[in-house]
Amino acid sequence: MELIALLSATVRMATPLIFVAIGETYSERAGVMNIGLEGLMLIGAITAYTAVFFTGSLFFGLIAAMLAAMLFGFGFAYLAVTIKANQIVTGAALNMIGLGVSGFIYRVVFANTGIVSAVKTLPAIPLPFLSEIPFAGPILFNQNALVYFVFILTPITAFVLNKTSLGLSIRAVGEHPRAVDSVGLPVFRLRYGCILFAAALAGLGGAYLPIAHANQFVEGLTAGRGFIALTMVPFAGWTIPGVFLGGLLFGAAYALQLRLQVAQLAIAYQFLQTLPYLLTLAVLILSRNRTEQPKALCVPYEAG
């Protein structure tokens, strides 16, 4: 029972990380690093919370979260791709703006009017038959819709990136944009597309927090998840299955450290809290995956 609870918590913790990291993998494979994921997640979170609060529709909340994050993602893309501004600094600015905008909306709409309250959340949907499977059933098949979506999205995005011509173009844009340009493929449009895709998934990952995992919004709710997701991408060697496993590993370590704290070991809780980070480091050191980053990562493309 304890193990089922642990693994079930793992999946809950990992879901938003995997969403965001899948998107960022696409973006980085196309040569654009967006460190503004935390800001985009917050935009997604406040949009979803506000939308669900006023419309009561969870589906609408998720769509709105993705669109809002894409709007800010478009701004990032304009600066990073068209204007060719430094991607890292632009991303840092995006984080500040995301924190500010989400906090401002929260204060104007909710805190200052005194209507702070819980919203309804995505219910757990036990899948018929599958949820009856001993052990795996309650862990994998008695979760909310977003968790199922991440299970579906992972193989699809992996397939698209590795086996389709679109994926080939995306990967080529991140390695040799000039070659891509010379065969007549649109470098800018591919990069814009990947950035917007990443933004939509960051919005979704942010939305997961206030309308699926918990039922509230607060300033800074994401608590650094955007940065962890960012770390997952190089950790996984820029592969989709890798970020999926990396997200699960981190989620598992987090769920485990909470349980170790409850178990009252004779270890200072601060060290238990660092377990997810230590474990990520350990796996990084032990694994033999030494993929180099996309060659054109962080390098703006000069047409002509």
């Binding site: 501004a85 430094n86 940065f227 190089p234």
Partner: protein, 369 residues
């Protein structure tokens, strides 16, 4: 200038080269370039003013208070310098590593380790003679931060572990260590609050602009930026660092000790951030708390990148960040503008500064040299 002989595969050494453009063209270019950052800040403030107006705040009053808060008095100027100091240290840290081709996102953690080292010496070795103690405190900060940065350096050179992952993870671990120390082994002797005891008086950095609390650390930051610039652009070691940064394989072919140089660069990088932590302890707080930095290490990344990782440039981007932080406080205190709105304006300011091509201008210059 003693420069090692170059091979065609390597970037050109930093010898000065005559600019072929006319003198007037040079002058105009310089004017244009100096105006760009100003124009960027002005544009951001303009958009900010529109935002303030929309939400019912008086932008003129807001900016007047901000101006006053930054330049209005001796004390306000000193506080901007104090806020700029730590991000110059972390900015220089990022710049050194970047020159060597390493992404040091870990300046935050190195800042903490430096603060911890400095506090340890300042509290527990407090009876050492005056100046020696101060030197040792600074040295402990340098070593604390330096060794913390050597970890990703070693992992990079030994097993090619991605330094972005390693440095970010080490940030979280450093925060855990700091929290553990102030609630555990280094908690103050009376045992009530999660903070260490005060460091010895002799370990405090002297004040230089009384009655303000501006301390000698601000000068140390400038000296560090200058020394690192000289190191990177005027010494054989700096040449090796930059060569490795621009093309590691070429450096290897040229027979440079790539691994050793990366480790040294990381020691210097982390040491700079750690020195920043030591300066913060010895100059301002006098003791360690769980939260000794509000994210100076992360600001350092932007501080360094805005000026294209030019160590000397961090002094000025550091001042921009110091001014932004000081401006935020005073706009809240005197104009009642909520922090979240200020955050939006500041985020835009940084975006505008970068979009107006300050970075690109500097980059073109560096390529020209």
């Amino acid at each position: 200038m003693s420069e090692p002989s170059t091979t065609p595969a390597m970037p050109k050494p930093p010898a000065s080269r005559l600019d072929l453009r006319s003198r007037s063209g040079q002058l105009w270019g310089a004017v244009r370039r100096s105006l760009m950052p100003l124009l960027a800040v002005a544009a951001a403030l303009l958009v900010g003013a529109i935002l303030l107006l929309i939400f019912g705040y008086d932008p003129i009053q807001a900016y007047a208070t901000m101006w006053h808060g930054i330049f209005g008095s001796q004390r306000n100027i000193s506080e901007v310098l104090l806020k700029a100091t730590p991000v110059v240290f972390t900015g220089v840290a990022v710049a050194i590593a970047y020159s060597c081709g390493i992404w040091n996102i870990g300046a935050e953690g190195q800042f903490y380790l430096g603060a911890i080292g400095a506090t340890y010496v300042g509290v527990y070795w407090g009876d050492l003679p005056g100046f020696a103690l101060l030197l040792l405190v600074m040295f402990a900060g340098f070593i604390g931060g330096g060794l913390w940065a050597v970890i990703p350096g070693l992992l990079k050179t030994w097993i090619n572990a991605n330094e972005v992952v390693v440095t970010i993870m080490l940030n979280y671990i450093a925060l855990g260590i700091s929290s553990y120390l102030v609630t555990g082994p280094m908690k103050e002797a009376s045992g009530y609050f999660p903070q260490t005891d005060m460091i010895a008086d002799a370990a405090r950095l002297p004040r230089i602009w009384l009655p303000t609390r501006l301390h000698v650390g601000v000068i140390l930051a400038v000296i560090l930026a200058i020394l690192v610039t000289i190191l990177l652009y005027r010494t054989p070691l700096g040449f090796e660092i930059r060569t490795i940064g621009s093309n590691r394989n070429a450096a290897r072919f040229a027979g440079m000790p790539v691994k050793r140089t990366i480790i040294i660069a990381m020691l210097l990088s982390g040491g700079s951030a750690g020195l920043g932590g030591a300066v913060e302890i010895a100059g301002l707080t006098g003791r360690l708390f769980a939260h000794i930095s509000p994210g100076y290490g992360f600001d350092g990344i932007a501080v360094s990148l805005i000026v294209n990782n030019n160590p000397l440039g961090t002094i000025f981007s550091g001042l921009l960040f110091g001014g932004l932080r000081a401006g935020s406080e005073i706009m809240q205190i005197s104009a009642g503008i909520p922090s979240v709105l200020i955050q939006i304006i500041q985020g835009m300011t940084i975006a505008f500064v970068i979009a107006f091509g300050v970075y690109n201008i500097l980059q073109t210059q560096q390529q020209k040299i």
